[in-house]
């Protein structure tokens, strides 16, 4: 709870500082707020603090909070050069970023459907505006508009789901819903199934699972790359945290009903994400489809829902957050004022002009593809093992096959960077120190998670063990 307040206060203070002069050091201020939130959640670890009966700072929520704070810090650090180059409004950018981060943290902690909905809206509205913050660019505005319209639909679905759930169970609190549903688990009423389906649609939209993924490539391509990194990781982490909490605790008695739906959607998400990803020529769109595929892997973990599957979700979210933020950070640094430089051909010969950036990008892409020394490998391996343990062998096979296919398009970028020579080498301004440090830090994090994952896996298992 304290960390939500801290993050919100940080955002509000940033807001207040915006008014007098536009050159206030708002980024560091936000970072201080986030570090405060991290300290607060560290102190809350193992306390199981519950406030108002609707917000619970259990270890599960705190683990996700740590991921989100890392996402927030890295996004703040990586946003600087993009903001400067595009001439974006500084104060508003940071304030919205912090507000939606506050919404994400709240979403991870909420144990009441209404609070989840409100948190979802806080984070979504922040992200909608961030997507369209580059208002002179038609692509950005188009992306924001699409994202906003479809997001509003998804929110309406989610709200309907809450209303029907309330109609069936008489409560919006997850624990009470859980008891009521468990009592009638043998023969769920049609209304209850409808409610569950609507809630599922709402979440599936936010995590970009397949029939609800249409907005993803456009939104990811149109938004400034620093925003894309933020929304592809933060929104996904928060949405999956709440997704898992709702479906593994309150709706757990209906596992038999929702598991079929999740099975089909997970398989479709993995397959479509990779197959369409192969056909992309823009690296941003390619990463958008790859993030759809990654949602599929997370759904596999959610479906297997055994003890290792649950901690696999958290571990995967942590790895994915670091990796994807890093990849979009590099894209953000390569972008220039008048050229997006996100086509595959723009990466030709990057190794010869920008060896450090190329090396970092290689680390992130290999981790996304699931190569052994990096975090992505352990995370994927963990998910597929838990799927096999849970008897979902076919899903695990689809997962392995699609990740092999996905290696193709990650490697294609790497081949471009190292093995072709550029006809028109990019002339880039020197990389700002903060952004450089952030990129190196996330690369080290990815390596750490890949080489010495035991500690983090233990934390993940311990944190998720406390609630489910």
């Amino acid at each position: 709870m304290a960390c939500v307040v801290a993050a919100a206060i940080a955002a509000i203070v940033a807001e207040a500082f915006r008014a007098p002069g536009e050159r206030m050091p708002i980024g560091p201020l936000g970072a201080i707020g986030l570090i405060g939130a991290a300290v607060a959640s560290f102190l809350l670890w193992d306390h199981h603090a519950v406030s108002f009966g609707v917000v619970s700072a259990d270890n599960y929520a705190l683990f996700v909070t740590f991921i989100l704070i890392a996402v927030g810090l890295l996004s703040l650090a990586l946003a600087g050069p993009v903001i400067e180059r595009q001439g974006l409004p500084v104060g508003e950018y940071y304030a919205l970023l912090l507000f939606s981060l506050g919404g994400m943290i709240l979403m991870a902690m909420a144990t009441d459907l209404i609070v989840i909905f409100l948190a979802l809206e806080v984070l979504s509205i922040g992200v909608y505006v961030l997507t369209g913050i580059r208002r002179d660019s038609p692509a950005s505005v188009e992306a924001a508009f699409k994202y906003f319209l479809l997001g509003a639909f998804a929110s309406a679905f989610f709200l309907y789901g809450i209303a029907f759930t309330y109609g069936v169970t008489g409560s919006t609190r997850l624990d009470r819903i859980g008891t009521v549903i468990a009592a009638q688990a043998m023969s769920p009423s049609p209304m209850q199934l409808l409610a569950m389906g609507l809630l599922f649609v709402g979440f599936a939209f936010k995590v970009a699972a397949v029939p609800f993924h249409m907005w993803t490539p456009d939104a990811y391509e149109g938004a400034p790359p620093s925003v894309t990194g933020f929304m592809s990781t933060g929104v996904k982490a928060a949405a999956f945290a709440a997704f898992a909490r709702v479906f593994l605790s309150a709706l757990a008695p209906m596992h038999g009903e929702w598991s079929h739906v999740v099975w089909v959607i997970a398989a479709m998400t993995m397959i479509l994400g990779t197959v369409v990803g192969v056909a992309q020529t823009s690296v941003k769109r390619m990463l958008a489809y790859s993030s759809i595929a990654h949602s599929g892997y997370l759904l596999v973990a959610l479906l297997s829902a055994n003890s290792s599957g649950k901690s696999a979700i958290l571990f995967y979210l942590a790895t994915y957050a670091l990796t994807n933020l890093g990849a979009f950070g590099v894209i953000g640094l390569l972008e220039q004022r008048d050229a997006a430089n996100d086509q595959l051909t723009d990466y030709a010969g990057l190794w010869y002009t920008q060896p450090v950036l190329a090396a970092l990008m290689t680390v992130f892409l290999l981790s996304l593809g699931g190569f052994p020394p990096f975090g992505g490998f352990i995370a994927k391996w963990f998910i597929f093992t838990s799927a096999i343990e849970a008897g979902q062998t076919w899903l695990a096979i689809i997962g392995v096959l699609t990740s092999v296919v996905s290696v193709f398009f990650y490697l294609r970028v790497i081949v471009q960077m190292y093995m072709t020579s550029s006809t028109a080498p990019l002339r880039l301004p020197p990389v700002p120190l903060v952004a450089g440090v952030a990129l190196v830090a996330s690369a080290i994090g990815v390596l750490y998670l890949g080489v010495l994952p035991a500690q983090v896996i233990d934390w993940a298992a311990a944190s998720i063990g406390t609630i489910f």
Partner: protein
């Protein structure tokens, strides 16, 4: 019961007239009348809060938005040839759509009348006064209330950012 029939008659009549107008401004006005009659029905159902919300939100805020849009579009009359020749109630679109809706309504009514014996899936509604509602809102749902204020703040900032005019070469 007389009051019910009065309000119901006003609502039905006003709604019919909404569709039958040539001038969209009249349509909006009649829609307000229809909403007013609906809120009268809510009062009769012992739901004063819903009635008041109906007036404030629908008849007040949303209809004013409608009026603004109608006036901004500057289309006080629909006057193509077809519009003048055929009365709005007898155009092809409204006829088919209206017929489809009427069939739906009839089917639902038949189903509802047939199913009245069945136990409703929803918990029995209790009478909710505005006072209890306010009490609940600021005790049980105080946290949600506060989060809503943050939500509105974010939405406001977002709207300002998206709608603001940037002066060329202005502040950075």
């Amino acid at each position: 019961m007389t009051l019910f029939y009065l309000f119901a008659a006003i609502a039905v009549l006003a709604s019919l007239l909404v569709v039958a107008q040539h001038n969209p401004v009249y349509s909006v006005m009649l829609l307000i009348a229809s909403f007013g009659a609906l809120s009268g029905l809510y009062v009769l159902l012992d739901a004063p809060f819903v009635a008041v919300i109906q007036i404030i939100v629908y008849a007040g805020a949303i209809m004013v938005l409608f009026l603004f849009v109608v006036m901004l579009l500057n289309a006080p009359r629909e006057d193509t040839d077809y519009d003048i020749r055929v009365h709005p109630l007898f155009r092809r679109g409204p006829l088919w759509f209206g017929a489809a809706l009427a069939v739906c309504l009839a089917a639902e009514l038949a189903w509802a009348l047939g199913a009245t014996r069945m136990r409703s899936g929803f918990p029995a509604a209790q009478m909710v006064s505005v006072e209890t509602l306010g009490h609940r809102l600021f005790t049980d749902y105080a946290f949600q209330f506060e989060v809503t204020s943050v939500l509105i703040l974010v939405a406001m900032i977002g709207a300002v950012i998206m709608a603001r005019h940037d002066e060329p070469g202005g502040k950075q």
